[in-house]
Structures are given as C-alpha cells and as structure tokens.
C-alpha cells in the first residue's frame, strides 16, 4: 500500500505554507499524518503536493487568551493529554484525550489534524462542539473564525476550503468553582472509533443544582451534536435519575442516528441515552466537593 507520488515541501512559516496552498494544484497540508497517511496508502487521497506544517512552532501552543484557552493546530495530541492548563481550564478536553486512538498515534497526531479530518466519531471534535469552541483558520492572509458547530458540515467534511490552514481553536473557560466532566464512548475495542459517544461538562451552584451544562453526542449523527435543549431542561434542577432519563429521552427523540456495519440506528439512539446518562452522572459526581452517589 504505497501512496501515489507527490512533491513534498516543509515551509518554515505559516505565511510560506499559506502561500504554497494558494498556488492550488492539489496540495494538502500534513502535520501528524495519522489520518492522512493511511488514506494516502490506500490511495483514497492522492494529493500532488504535501505541505508539511508539522514542525511550525508558531502553531504549537496552549495558552490563555482572555477568557478562553487557545490551542494551536499543530499541538501534538500527547501534549494536550498532560498539559496543566488544559487540565485545569478545559477539563472536558483533558478527560477525552486518552480515548483518542493509541499512545503512538497521539505521539504524532495533532489537535488541528483531528479537527480538519472531521471523523464523526472523533473525540476532539465532540469536545469542541460540546463546549462551543471557536475554530480559526487562515485562507490566504485572511483569518476566519467559526463556531465548532458550523465548522463540521458532514462526515469527514468541514468548511475549510482547500486553500485554508486551520490555525487554532479557542475553548471558553468556565469560571464556576464547581466543575465536573464526564466522557463515555462505546466501541468494539478500546481505542477503536466509537460507535457512540457522549460528553458532559457541568457547573454546580452552592446548593448542588445545575448552574450550567454543556452536553454533546458523537458518532451518532454525521457531525457531533451539542444538545442545548437538554442543557436548558436540566438547568437549575437537581440531578435526579428519573428526571434525567426523561430529559435525555426527550432530547434524543428527534435525532436521526447513523446506521452502519457496526450498529443500527436504534442501537445508537439507545447507546446515546445510556452514555449521556453516564457522562452527566460522572460530571455531576466529580463536581461535588465530596463525591456522593447519584440519587
């Protein structure tokens, strides 16, 4: 499984990379290559030119920017797994990272690469959509920011034009003191692409009611889905099993799950409900100052 031939360039700056992209002629960016190289090996992707941005230091960062954490596109996934800023300020992302492939994949794979690849089951994409991240890309000399929800348009498809380079994403930082997160997925083997996944970040008030809730499901629909209505339904309420399950069922009633070799649409709908319940429960329990059993 050898790729079709291509030319290779490693520009020294983002400016140079964008200039190369602007020349057109079937060029693609490569950073970690963990998703692109298998596609090329199977000849499902056949770029004539590869522009390697993997070593661009200017795109590898994790930093606080106002009330967001900005993560550069070429930041390696393994860095995100252990970064203290991510852990404290974007705990849902830290929680999801160990689910991304295997360690050797995370050693090379990049944050931006996962976003641009837009697999419906991708964990990073799910977290981005759930938390309402903003994704920034550069096209020519223009910088364009879109919400994560707008960024993903279908399986393996995003708004990124062929001439664009994803530069960073910004995750809003929640200021509440009591934050908890939950992330669950179901797959055939650990580290496989999930057939259903759920992410939850919860902030609790002093009295243990839900002040704020961000919920999302992945691998169930063509793009990750944020469940705003569900979040609204549960806001200001105490977490209680029957209410939670009923709210989840209502929120999922109108989704149209994927059906494929791995799982039927019905399975995905039920799995979505189960995984959401577990993710929300985990988030709620870890947000308590002293963890109590879910009522």
């Amino acid at each position: 499984m050898k790729p079709a031939p291509f030319k290779y360039a490693r520009p020294a700056s983002l400016d140079a990379a964008c200039a190369m992209l602007a020349q057109g002629d079937d060029a693609r960016l490569i950073a970690g290559g963990q998703t692109l190289v298998p596609l090329m090996a199977m000849r499902l992707a056949r770029p004539k030119r590869l522009i390697d941005i993997g070593r661009l230091a200017e795109l590898a960062f994790v930093r606080r920017e106002d009330d967001a954490v900005a993560i550069g596109a070429t930041t390696k996934q393994c860095v995100l797994e252990h970064d203290p800023l991510v852990r404290s300020q974007v705990p849902l992302l830290a929680k999801a990272m160990p689910f991304v492939g295997h360690a050797p994949i995370r050693a090379r794979g990049t944050f931006g690469g996962s976003l641009a690849n837009a697999d419906p089951a991708a964990e990073i994409a799910l977290v981005a959509v759930t938390l309402g991240a903003t994704i920034v890309y550069r096209d020519g000399s223009e910088l364009i920011a879109v919400s994560a929800a707008e960024f993903f348009t279908g399986p393996m498809t995003t708004v990124l034009p062929p001439s664009a380079c994803l530069t960073c994403a910004r995750f809003p930082v929640w200021r509440e003191a009591r934050l908890g997160v939950g992330f669950h997925e179901i797959n055939a083997r650990r580290s496989d692409f999930a057939f259903a996944s759920a992410a939850a970040q919860i902030a609790l008030d002093e009295d243990g009611t839900c002040a704020r809730l961000a919920l999302g499901i992945g691998a169930i629909t063509p793009v990750p889905r944020r469940l705003d209505a569900l979040g609204e339904m549960l806001k200001g309420k105490r977490m209680e099993e029957k209410r939670l399950r009923a709210a989840i069922a209502a929120a999922l009633a109108d989704i149209d799950p994927l059906s494929d070799l791995h799982a039927s649409a019905d399975y995905r709908r039920r799995a979505a409900a189960t995984l959401l319940f577990r993710a929300i429960t985990d988030a709620y329990q870890t947000a308590q100052p002293h963890a109590r059993h879910a009522s």
Binding site: F6, Y8, R10, P38, H102
Partner: protein, 163 residues
C-alpha cells in the same frame, strides 16, 4: 530528496522519494529489517520505532518527515554483539513471543515505558502494549516480561545485602 537520519546513534544520508515511508526507508535503504510491515495503515504496530525516545508507527511517517530526528530501532537495543538488554533477556525468560514478528515493536514499546515509568502496574503495561497487535501469544507472557524487566531494573544498583 536528500535526508539525514540519525538512527541508533549514527547519521545516515539517504536519497528518497517523498512517498517512501520511514518504515520502508529503514528496511530497504538502511537494511534495518527489524521493523516490520503488518498493515501499512497504522493499526497493528509491527512497524514501531522510537522517535526521540517515543514509540511511533513508522508506516505512518514519510521518511522525509523524520529528517533530523533521532530514531531508535531494535537493532540499536542490544548492548553488544551476542548480548541482550535486560528487557530483551526478560522477553526470553518468559517466552514473550512465538513467531517474533511483533517482538521488536513490543520491546521498543517496553523500553519507552520503563524509561518513564520504572514501576508500571499491570494495567499500565497493558495500556502501553495495547497499541501493538500480537496474534501468537495472547499477550500474557509479554506482560510478564515487561513486569519482570521492571523488577530487575529496580533491583540494579541495590547493595547486595539489601535483598
């Protein structure tokens, strides 16, 4: 394209097509055949090498991407001709292989794990090797080899009277 690869401590200059994978470059240009092709799409891990000390899938890298990086292959592990590293010896002690095809990858992964974690739990060993498929052993003897190696490494430099 002309590349400089640092492999097992030596610099090699090679001329490659951009599409040549790091795996193929190591095997065919440098004749280091210890890294193996199992799938060429990044799942089986038989192609694992260490890149700056970290296990990576060499089938998922083009050689040109590794220009200037320090690569360790299985051929760089034994301390000398006819000798075995402590980890290699542990693999022999527990018979942590049968056909030997995944073995270089497993050993390199074990080296990287124990370099950073001298006392891994069984779960940590499993997690570390879960990126490498073995079809022969069912993994138990491999897990035992890594645990044995960890034990022995911790035992080094202990005064004899301690035990």
């Amino acid at each position: 394209m002309r590349l400089e690869l640092s492999v097992n401590g030596s610099i090699h200059v090679v001329e490659v097509e951009p599409r040549m994978s790091l795996l193929d470059c190591l095997r065919e240009r440098l004749l280091l055949t210890g890294a193996h092709a199992g799938c060429e799409h990044g799942v089986c891990g038989a192609c694992t090498v260490l890149l700056d000390g970290v296990p990576v899938r060499s089938c998922l890298m083009f050689a040109v991407q590794a220009d200037g990086c320090a690569i360790t292959t299985i051929e760089g592990i034994a301390p000398g001709p006819g000798e075995l590293s402590l980890i290699q010896d542990a693999f022999c002690e527990t018979h942590a292989m049968q056909c030997g095809y995944c073995t270089p990858a497993m050993i390199l992964t074990a080296h990287a794990l124990l370099a950073g974690n001298p006392a891994p739990t069984r779960a940590e060993i499993v997690e570390a090797i879960s990126a490498n498929i073995c079809r022969c052993t069912g993994y138990a003897q491999i897990i035992e080899a890594v645990a044995l190696a960890a034990d022995r490494m911790r035992g080094l430099n202990q005064p004899a009277a301690r035990t």
